[in-house]
């Protein structure tokens, strides 16, 4: 989706599923479209590690990549459409297009992603 590109556009988007996380790797919140698409409730995900949405075989890569980004601030995956897999509340794994962005707010990185299942 061409229109949603910047961090602020992602965070405020309503018609596509969005998840927002902090720099500790914990989920801040998800929007209604996200809840509708993947079956998770706001309270189920809030304050939980992002890895709960990521299949286990990607956890190592996520942990290492996430840590590297925080240390080097050099992104390799941000700002582009990525074919990844998301874990739904019922345990299903769905292939979904992820568009991840990040922004530094008061010294802390904030992450947001649009996740579109087909």
């Amino acid at each position: 989706m061409g229109r949603i590109v910047t961090f602020d556009e992602v965070v405020s988007a309503e018609d596509v599923p969005v998840v927002v996380a902090n720099q500790r790797g914990l989920i801040d919140r998800v929007n209604q479209a996200f809840i509708d698409a993947f079956g998770w409730s706001q309270s189920e995900v809030a304050e939980q590690p992002l890895t709960m949405l990521i299949p286990s075989q990607f956890h190592d890569a996520h942990n290492l990549g996430f840590s590297r980004f925080l240390a080097t601030e050099r992104a390799t995956l941000l700002g582009q459409a990525l074919e990844l897999t998301i874990v739904c509340a019922d345990g299903r794994e769905l292939a979904a297009e992820h568009f991840i962005v990040a922004k530094k707010i008061d010294d802390d990185w904030c992450f947001a992603a649009v996740i579109r299942a087909p």
């Binding site: 304050e47 075989q57 990607f58 190592d60 890569a61 290492l64 990549g65 590297r68 240390a71």
Partner: protein, 550 residues
């Protein structure tokens, strides 16, 4: 868990630990990604959980398209073109030991890799497989290069060994060839030595029978002649030694090519003698630095070829001309000309090939010129052929002049040095004077010519004299004119001139004597000073010879 249930302090502590762990992970990720080896770990099923950049590159895919995929889907492993069987394929369950070297087909082509694999059991439930893949293409190329260099060196070694053998064979053959020539050279003096010894035996018998009858007048002459003969033989033997010196004894030294040519000519004298008139044209020639016996081998081969190109029995018409000179870069040029059959232009380029011969089986092995070529090139020189079918051949050898090159003939080839017996030329128009000098100098080898022209004529074929005693005033050509001509043609020889005069100087003769560095002796000659001069010339080096004379 909810934030309400957690006290604030432990949460801050957790955050610090988390940040520390993240920093460590970041370092690990960066470090592993910077390696040239491709590193990947998978779960027990081969699903990629993490890999470094080198692995992404090997797989030819973006990182996230590698993650979560089965490691076996990226590559087909082949050895010698055939897929590696599953039971040996580390990607199908890591082998405990060692690495596997194989080709993998990547999007960038076929790469030769070594795959190391490990299976780690982290917990009772979790296995991970780790693969390290190293591109050994370059390494392999380097190894192959090394191997091929080694093989090349071995081949070179073999070729050199073969060359050494050929060189040896050629030398043996040349020595065989020489034997006949040498036999002839030795037989002549032997003939009169034996004759003289018979004569001496008869004289001794007669003397014993009747001591009163006295000794025959020619007794000393006979003895002297016998000694000369023996000396000639010893000279030939010495020349032969030069030629047959062993391979270990091949020191390079400064050599006057003319001396070496003379050695070769003596050794081949007989072969040449029957087929051609020999002409020497030795000009001022720089010395060269090489092994004398190798150079002699070159000359013997070339002279043998020249002789073999001529048919026997036409020695009046046919000619072998040996020329030496210097070129403008102070290299020694040696040319051997013959008026023989010549070489077909198509054969000229092949003449240097080993085993190329046009001679009947048993007569030529075709090694001569190839050996010459090898030797001359080894001396830093060149060898070339100019030939016209029907009119003859010239083989030209060009050798770099040695740095310490004196243009004069060196003493290296002097044969009489040890015994201090000289070879002398007496140029005097008065036969009585000449005879008296000959008598006086009996201990030496004395050659006499009776005119200036005679001397110049002699020099065309023979300049091997230690001293030239030359009368200054002669009716046909004065000693001065002879000397000037010699300076032009054979400068090395001019140094060895000693003038003799009967007084009665002309003004120009006086001036001449003052200006030339050479000695001038007055008639009647005094035996002591003549001997003194000879000793000096025979035993001193070319350099101080000039000083003592001047």
């Amino acid at each position: 868990m909810s934030s309400d249930e957690q006290p604030a302090a432990p949460r801050r502590g957790e955050a610090v630990v988390l940040a520390g762990l993240r920093a460590t992970l970041a370092k690990m990720e960066c470090a592993l990604s910077s390696l040239a080896e491709a590193i990947v770990w998978t779960d027990g099923e081969g699903t990629v959980q993490w890999c470094n950049r080198a692995f992404d590159e090997l797989a030819g895919r973006p990182h996230i398209q590698v993650l979560g995929k089965c490691v076996r889907d990226f590559f087909v492993l082949r050895q010698a073109g055939k897929p590696v069987p599953q039971e040996e394929n580390p990607l199908f369950g890591a082998r405990a030991c060692g690495g596997l070297c194989c080709d993998i087909e990547t999007p960038n082509g076929i790469v030769l890799v070594e795959i190391q694999s490990r299976k780690l059991q982290l917990t009772a439930r979790e296995d991970i497989l780790i693969f390290v893949i190293r591109d050994v293409t370059q390494e392999q190329l380097a190894l192959e290069l090394q191997r091929s260099l080694r093989e090349q060196a071995a081949a070179q070694e073999r070729a050199e060994e073969l060359n050494r053998q050929l060189f040896h064979a050629d030398r043996l053959k040349a020595i065989g060839q020489l034997a006949s020539g040498v036999a002839h050279e030795v037989n002549n003096p032997l003939t009169y030595i034996i004759g003289n010894l018979d004569h001496l035996a008869a004289v001794t018998d007669a003397f014993r029978a009747d001591p009163n009858q006295g000794l025959p007048a020619d007794l000393e002459e006979v003895i002297e002649e016998t000694r000369h003969g023996a000396e000639r033989i010893s000279r030939i033997v010495r020349d032969l030694k030069v030629f047959s010196r062993s391979e270990q004894d091949q020191d390079d030294r400064s050599i006057d090519v003319r001396d070496t040519l003379d050695v070769a000519l003596t050794l081949l004298g007989n072969e040449i003698h029957h087929r051609a008139t020999l002409k020497r044209d030795y000009r001022s020639t720089p010395s060269v630095r090489c092994s004398e016996s190798r150079l002699a081998q070159v000359f013997v081969n070339l002279l043998a070829n020249a002789a073999q190109a001529l048919s026997e029995g036409h020695s009046d018409e046919d000619e072998i001309r040996v020329c030496t000179r210097s070129d403008d870069q102070r290299r020694a040029i040696i040319e051997i000309h013959d008026t023989g059959s010549g070489i077909d232009p198509r054969d000229v380029p092949r003449a240097f090939e080993p085993f190329f011969t046009t001679k009947p089986v048993g007569e030529g092995t075709g090694l001569g010129l190839s050996i010459c070529h090898g030797l001359v090139v080894g001396m830093g020189g060149t060898i070339e052929i100019e030939s016209d079918v029907g009119s003859g051949t010239c083989v030209r050898v060009t050798l770099p002049g040695s740095v310490d090159s004196p243009a004069a003939r060196s003493q290296t080839g002097r044969r009489l040095k040890d015994t201090a017996v000289g070879r002398l030329l007496v140029v005097d128009d008065d036969p009585a004077v000449a005879r008296s000098i000959v008598r006086m100098l009996r201990a030496h080898e004395v050659v006499v010519v009776n005119s200036g022209h005679g001397a110049l004529e002699k020099f065309t074929s023979d300049r091997g004299f230690d001293v030239v005693f030359c009368d200054l005033m002669m009716p046909d050509l004065t000693g001065m004119a002879v000397y000037e001509r010699v300076c032009e043609l054979y400068p090395g020889l001019a140094e060895r001139f000693v003038f003799i005069t009967g007084g009665a100087f002309t003004a120009s003769a006086k001036r001449f004597v003052r200006t030339v560095p050479n000695l001038c002796l007055d008639k009647p000659l005094d035996l002591a000073s003549v001997r003194d001069v000879i000793q000096r010339f025979v035993s001193s080096s070319a350099r101080n010879r000039k000083q003592s004379a001047g």
